[in-house]
Amino acid sequence: MSTLPQLNLFTVVLIPFIGAALIALAGTHRALREGLSWSSSIVFFLAVMGLLVAFLDGDSASQTVWEIMPGLAIAFRLEPLGMLFAAMSSTLWVLATPYAIGYMNAKGYSNLGRFFACYAIALGAAAGIAFADNLFTLFVFYEILSVSTYPLVAHTGDNKAKQGARTYLALLLATSIGLMLPAMIWVWTATGTLDFADGGILAGQVSPAAGAVLLVLFMYGTGKAALMPFHRWLPAAMVAPTPVSALLHAVAVVKAGVFVVLKIAIYVFGLDYLRELATSDVMLYIAAFTMLAASLVAIRQDNLKARLAYSTVSQLSYIVVGAMLAVQLSAIGGGMHMLMHGFGKITLFFCAGAIYVASGKTKVSEFDGLGRRMPVTFFAFFIGALCVIGLPPTGGIWSKWHLVAGAFDAGHTAIMLAFMLSTLLNIGYLLPPVARAFLRPLPEGERSGFNEAPWMCVIPLALTALGTLVLFAMAQSAFDLLGGMFGPVA
């Protein structure tokens, strides 16, 4: 038995929303607002851990909150993938909270009540997506996530921010309402249900051609997965303050996107049915193309955040590839990559923000010699980069391992090659900033000496970097957890 409370799922989802309401009421009162931000993230973390402990004991919770129309309900259920997503985002929220407080205060932003309230709402929406038991519930929280992050992206309020935020919201809403919603209605008319079920609900219910079209609608309807050509919102969202880019555009929002892709692939289509569809190979190659093309774009970006954004586009496609390969190993690999990349990429973004706070520099070409002034930050950046590239001793290696093994299983040699090529490209854009910082001298006229960002920023990034190392050792438990999606692993 666990000492942690085991709350029902809806309550857990509500915690961040209640936290957000309280934070908004606290408004300009700084100590109260920050205390509430801390406590809601910690309470949420404990609640999710309570669920995780019970779940690992084999206790699967489910709950129907309210039936809106016959057969159309707000319902939650715990399953391995959602559990992993919720555990990851709740953990990273706890770490991101001090970072956000430190960063926003150091840069002197205003309107922080709105900022932290929306931050919390986004996490609540992510939890709702993670626990959703049917497409409808998932869609509701997916839209809450899109809308609640708009004020965060537009936070600075200047024209550039507004323009970026408008692109962001327009693309996310247009894809979800224009493509995902009709696909959802189509599934509802064809099968009479929207529940996620083991082995999928579509097999045998729609014609092969309809299934093929549905797959395209769902894959592009999930705009948050940033499949080309609907990836523009992600670089556009980089106008947001860095804590937003870190937690939301490296973790919660984009991972929600690939989570939806995996969830739909596994529980709506079912992997066996997915393999039969005419378009699954097409989507597979589009994802592989996105993976390589985004990496190539990333290499050319001098702005560090833009480089990381394109890197995210590329890494998300790893997971989509994992889903479209439609074998168990690759799907598990995709789920693990969600976790590993989450820890690695948030570290990188934390570092980018810390560099900006401490030195005001945003461009890679200006990083010469910075490693001497900010050794902790750049060492963490190095570890995070290793994780995203997929090298030991970080967790990143395991997810890539399983993805490549899955590609081999499915007999897609070209995809294996694409993975390898992409890894090389990752090295090409992630290691040069570190190399410049440590190996080149500081430019003339800049004072040397130790100059890190505030400790509220540095400690979280050190912790997430440490997390990637821990995940290297603990990867097997994540694998076992995800293996539960397909019953006992053979």
Partner: protein, 493 residues
């Protein structure tokens, strides 16, 4: 007193109260009398609905047995609409006090008397089972409405009122011509009686012409494209309270009359065969959806923007009708109800802004999100409903509409509905962006939050939008019963 005997009082109470009201001086008493009368009427309508859903209620005026005397005949369909009309009026009135004091400072007795006349006219149309009586009440409510619109403080209100008068009179005359043709052919004016006698004579061009006249006449009152030209000006220049009231009620009643004739009097298996009604209505509905949303996207005046949005929303309702199925009609009734909720909430929020700022132009909304957070949040939330976001009332009706379209295999309609929903995002978004993401120019007066007397009713309606988006038993149940009453020949004796 049985429910059947109580039912006519929802029309009579406002009618009698309007006489009292016209004689009352000052600013408080006319409003108070109106409020009491309207709430009474709404309560009676609320009592009537469950009873009417069970059996059709029939009340003979003056104890003259129908079809000779005037009969009030109430089944689920008109009880549903009557509850909507009286309910919206009752919710809007607490909001009215402040707004009317500002916009109609003098002779409020006459103003509220006109309002009560309009209300009792609308309820009379809804409850009456007599074709000529429907026309009379239509004229009562229309004339009162012209007067109400003319109360607008902008001088253009007079012109708007005059245009509506001309077009409304044409519409009512068309209805009268249609009814006259039916009377010539059957010798009766009672709707149930008409439905019985028409099959013998319905293969004549007179009856076909009657159908066409009635549809065009009611299409005018309904503001169905291309007969909508009176609506944007009328809504824009009328006093805010009048707009709030009309947006939720007047077009809905016109739609009900059209449905009553098409489905009950003529029977759908005839009226949809003899005229290509389904196709025509569908094309007009889709055109209205697009044209209304398109124009709304570029309107600088927010009241006018919402008026054009209404033209688009009427399109959704007519689209549901054009599908001629239980689900389609259910969707039409649902949207009739839900649209009243959302548009009333939106107009209330805009009216509140006008009360505080003095203008409803988009440029005057700049920066208001900070100074009037409650009002603008209400607008944003009601806007979500008109877009059709899940958990709002707007989602429920769109969901049923899409279901109805899919049942008939009309894929392209789903696409069109979704595109117009995206257009709704654009026009609602313009306001949100102006309110929260633009600075208030220095030369414009700063505006504080509105008084609670305006905020509370607005938020009640916003809350209703969410309540009926989550708990759909009343709306879906009522709408389904109404649709079945119309399609299942609920008027049969």
């Amino acid at each position: 007193m049985t429910i059947t005997e109580l039912m006519p009082f929802s029309v009579l109470v406002p009618l009698i109260a309007s006489l009292v009201c016209a004689l009352l001086p000052g600013r408080f008493w006319p409003w108070a009398v109106t409020l009491v009368a309207t709430i009474t009427s709404a309560v009676i309508a609320a009592i009537t609905l469950p009873a009417a859903a069970q059996v059709t209620l029939s009340y003979a005026f003056g104890n003259w047995p129908p079809p000779i005397g005037i009969e009030y005949r109430v089944d689920a369909a008109n009880a549903f609409v009557a509850l909507l009309v009286a309910g919206m009026a009752a919710v809007a009135l607490p909001w009215a006090k402040k707004s009317v004091d500002r916009e109609v400072p003098e002779r409020q007795g006459a103003f509220y008397a006109l309002f009560l006349l309009a209300l009792s006219g609308l309820l009379g149309i809804t409850l009456s089972g007599d074709a000529f009586n429907i026309f009379v009440f239509l004229e009562i409510s229309s004339l009162a409405t012209y007067g109400l619109i003319a109360h607008g403080s902008d001088r253009r209100a007079l012109l708007a009122s005059f245009r509506y008068l001309i077009m409304g009179t044409v519409g009512a005359t068309f209805l009268l011509i249609g009814i006259g043709f039916l009377y010539v052919m059957t010798g009766t004016l009672n709707l149930a009686d008409l439905a019985e006698r028409l099959p013998e004579v319905r293969d004549t061009s007179t009856v076909r012409a009657a159908l066409a006249f009635i549809i065009v006449g009611m299409g005018l009152k309904l503001a169905m494209l291309p007969l909508h030209l009176w609506l944007p000006n009328a809504y824009t220049y009328a006093p805010s309270f009048v707009t709030v009231f009309l947006a939720g009620t007047a077009t809905k009643v016109a739609l009900y009359v059209m449905l009553r004739f098409v489905f009950t009097v003529f029977a759908p298996d005839w009226s949809f065969v003899v005229l290509p009604l389904s196709t025509v209505l569908m094309i007009l509905a889709v055109a209205g959806m697009f044209a209304g949303s398109w124009v709304a996207m570029f309107q600088p005046n927010i009241k006018r923007m919402l008026a054009y949005s209404s033209v688009a929303q009427v399109g959704y309702m007519v689209l549901g009708v054009s599908l001629v199925s239980i689900v389609g009609l259910t969707a039409a009734f649902l949207h009739l109800f839900n649209h009243a909720l959302m548009k009333t909430a939106l107009f209330m929020a805009v009216g509140t802004v006008i009360y505080q700022v003095g203008s409803g132009h988009l440029k005057d909304f700049r920066g208001l999100g900070r100074t009037m957070p409650w009002t603008l949040t209400a607008f944003a939330l009601a806007g979500l409903s008109i877009i059709g976001v899940p958990l709002t009332a707007g989602f429920v009706s769109k969901w049923y509409l899409i279901q109805a379209a899919l049942d008939q295999g009309q894929w392209f309609l789903v696409v069109l509905i979704l595109i117009t929903s995206l257009m709704a995002i654009v026009y609602i978004w313009r306001v949100i962006e102006a309110a929260w993401f633009q600075e208030r120019p220095g030369n414009q007066p700063a505006a504080g939050e509105a008084p609670l007397a305006l905020l509370i009713p607005t938020w009640v309606l916003v809350a209703l939008n969410f309540y009926f988006g989550i708990d759909t038993r009343l709306t879906v149940g009522g709408a389904t019963a109404a649709a079945e009453a119309l399609l299942g020949g609920g008027m049969a004796p």
